[in-house]
Symmetry: C2
Subunit: 163 residues, 2 copies
């Protein structure tokens, strides 16, 4: 799968000094995006530039049609996001977390993360072609929430998570 | 999704008198296949003819190349099989069972059924383009096994299945 270089926006949505870029989550996200970039298109990009497409400011979102089919790049971006969350779950609980993304051509679907026989995250996806967050810190907040809920479930049902 | 009418094989792999055709499983399978046949291509086919493509005798299997991409018809067939199992789980335990099929273009993937937050079936799929069973009764046996394992898990972890 190829990942196209994003066009340089007039004013970047992520500042290179954003403290969120130093967090474990952002580091993992950058690692995941690089992992799905087999041709090294992203090699010369900074972390802020790599995560730029995840931030959909209101102006950027307005340019995307309301109805649309998700392309490969958006799907890869979504996969990288849920992969990063799965990795963070694994790091916290020491058990294997497996992400599973199921999408129809129209951009509806389901994202799941399982640990053992426990579903630790289960989300219905819609309008995947408009996937993005208002800011990098909102994206991290969303990931933190998913992580916290998953870890709580694992704590409560460790027998099923260990199956 | 369109489902092509299978070519009439010289000798059918399923006899119209096969007692398995009268079971709940076969009835549900026929219902599932008809459900993914929006143009009514299957309307005039008997249950034995509808389930015929699921039986891959050795001779039929030999004609399929070892490496190949699964087409839409095979994927729909696989989906109908796991849908039928999910319906049977639902009927037995009274809780909603949701099947999820994730396939790569190369025919590798994962089939999952969840009940609440419990993964009641989790299978790695390979060589999906060669999906099929040696006989109808072997197919029913496989479904029965998956059903029994799922129901046992639900019984043991009813709290998680009820989430």
């Amino acid at each position: 799968m190829t990942v196209a270089t994003p066009e340089a926006p007039p004013s970047p949505a992520i500042s290179p000094d954003d403290p969120v870029l130093g967090t474990e989550f952002a580091t993992e996200m950058v690692r995941q995006v690089r992992a799905i970039d087999p041709y090294g298109t992203y090699d010369n990009l900074s972390p802020a530039e790599i995560l730029e497409p995840y931030v959909l400011t209101k102006a950027k979102k307005r340019e995307i049609p309301i109805v649309g089919d998700p392309d490969e790049i958006v799907v890869a971006r979504l996969q990288a996001f849920y992969n990063a969350i799965a990795v963070m779950i694994e790091q916290e609980c020491g058990l294997r977390a497996i992400p599973l993304l199921h999408l129809s051509h129209e951009g509806f679907g389901r994202a799941l993360i399982t640990v053992g026989k426990l579903v630790v995250m289960d989300r219905t996806l819609r309008d995947v072609h408009r996937f993005g967050f208002p800011s990098l810190s909102k994206m991290k907040h969303e990931a933190d929430t998913l992580l916290a809920v998953a870890l709580e479930l694992i704590g409560e049902h460790s027998d099923v998570a260990g199956l």
